[in-house]
Symmetry: C2
Subunit: 337 residues, 2 copies
DNA sequence: CTGTTAGCGCTTTCAT
DNA sequence: ATGAAAGCGCTAACAG
């Protein structure tokens, strides 16, 4: 490769570099014969255009940056997948970063990604460090926030209210006759979506006059299956009469379920269990986990569409009015609650 | 941002662009006062260097491309994580692609990524389309193949023998007294690692004079938990006396386990179950899944190190001799087999 | 330690 | 339909 540039191809085809450039764009005005000849040579020599030069010349990177808290999580993996689907078609590549549930790592990643001049940035959640907000403000790049409904969005939003979701699950458990509900979540405030679900738990239990202090914080997010199992121990020793446990995610909920089975605790007879996220394991385990389902892929698709819309508007010199798309969630009643 | 370039900063600091460039590199020769002054202005105006210009000038993209069959899979997510750890420190960014277990999508992604001039490419598996091999050959970029030990590697290799792993599990089950072992895997040959494990199953069952035809192909890879559950049905109706089932991954194995519980089939009393990958669910479920553990993060780290070594050698004009790193795997005996 | 010059490979613009 | 010229923002190489 190395030495093969557009010029090389142009010389071989007996045309100018400009004609090669045009021949490679489907819409440009080149005679059919010339294009065929050029493309044939491109094929022969295995010429691959150099995006770095194109980017530099056009000042369009062809990148959209996307940050998720974790790749090792079906929900976010689905969201990323949804984004790819849409971005691929638009010929835009994704710069993907994993913040590991850390706002400071989010900031570092954004700093690094901004050097690549992404045409839009898709973030997870609506809480960011001050440094991040400064960076984004001076970068003047379209932003999409996902997976939550921030009060003061930075741009477009595609998400749902985690607080409402938490509250909805409490109400569901209450309807099923549960009165002593515990919550298992993550320790720090990094996982702001988890914290919102916990806030929803608090609000709903209070308004139903149920105990609202039965909260076990299992560790640094993401809360794993194993931490869920440990948290059950803590929950039972503090509140032995707990009759339902709702967890910040299906993973911890499954950990609780498995630990109940190990201890011979009847689920849902003695304890009901509810998760969040509708992971495969929730659908498949025995008994099946009651949970909250969100169309994570749709979040990704919709976020990517918003990013593309903002980006197109900018390229046309138009202004893009940021919008908020609410993605529905629903309680999925299964066997554990 | 937009208009703010190195020149802007240079003018404001009363120096040349070159001095700004140097001030931004920690190792370059600039007086402390000058550097401080420049960096202060950089901070004030929020200048972010434009990587596309740097890439174009230096002809070093600062990218390593990495392709995995799926992001929605803990094993590969861990591998990606291991790669990030190493690449981050080296200041190299990752272009991550998800092939969806498709060799033709792998080829498309490589074609797209090559335009970005990655300094190395990390692939999963040792089987690639002819088009992929052509592209890579003419791109002349260092390659690392992971997660397998191909016979004719394209460059460096970091992996393990999936065939040996499959055979090892058969031998383990045989030692535990199982004689009628079935295998559940994916239908197509896209998942070449799964196919290798199946080949190991065939070889080992034959050499132990056990039935080797008890194979259920559950669908297109990746085989899900739900497909594992369905495959159990198929397995039992064809071979009702099966006394052990080994699965291409822990996900399908967990599906089999949950379905056994639903049907009241004693595990491991009547049927032993074994998976692959040592996923969280295998460690946590009840009873715990016997499986094969590989240090997936180490595969990622080691692959990234190989990529960086190849890339550094190239930048120094040295030649890099491709190496093969074998990552150990081990059977993890738990409660299901 | 700092500045100058040149050029990376492509596309935009204008001319033909 | 095609070509020529200019330049995108940065850094390598050399000069001082």
């Amino acid at each position: 490769m190395g030495a093969v540039t557009m010029h090389t191809v142009a010389r071989m085809a007996g045309v100018s570099a400009m004609t090669v450039s045009r021949a490679l764009k489907s819409d440009a005005a080149v005679s059919k014969e010339t294009r065929d000849r050029v493309l044939e040579i491109v094929r022969q020599v295995g010429y691959v255009p150099d995006a770095s030069a194109r980017v530099f010349a056009t000042r369009r990177s062809g990148f959209v940056a996307a940050l998720v808290p974790s790749l090792n999580n079906s929900n976010f993996a689905d969201t990323v997948h949804g984004m790819s689907e849409v971005l691929d078609v638009a010929g835009v590549q994704m710069l993907l970063g994993d913040t590991e549930y850390s706002l400071s790592r989010e900031e570092d990643l954004i700093r690094a990604f901004l050097q690549r001049r992404p045409e839009a940035i898709i973030l997870t959640g609506g809480v960011h460090s001050e440094g991040t907000r400064d960076l984004l403000a001076s970068a003047d790049v379209p932003i999409v926030e996902t997976w939550d409904l921030p009060e003061h969005p930075l741009g477009d939003v595609v998400g749902f209210s985690n607080k409402e979701a938490g509250a909805a699950m409490v109400r569901y458990l209450h309807e099923r006759g549960r009165r002593r509900i515990g919550f298992i979540g993550g320790k720090t405030s990094f996982d702001t979506r988890g914290a919102e679900r916990r806030a929803g738990f608090k609000r709903a239990t209070r308004s139903l006059r149920l105990p609202s202090d039965r909260v076990i914080l299992a560790g640094k997010p993401p809360v794993t299956m194993a931490q869920g199992a440990e948290a059950l121990e803590a929950m039972l020793s503090r509140w032995p009469d707990v009759d339902a446990i709702m967890c910040v995610s299906d993973l911890s909920a499954f950990g609780v379920l498995a630990e109940c089975q190990r201890r011979g605790i009847d689920v849902p007879g003695r304890i009901a269990i509810a998760g969040f996220g509708d992971f495969d394991v929730a659908r498949c385990c025995h008994p099946r986990l009651t949970t909250i389902a969100v169309d994570c892929t749709a979040i990704g698709r919709s976020a990517a569409e918003a990013a593309l819309a903002a980006l197109d508007a900018r390229n046309k010199g138009e202004t893009h009015k940021p919008q908020t798309v609410a993605i529905p969630f629903r309680v999925v009643a299964r066997e554990t609650a």
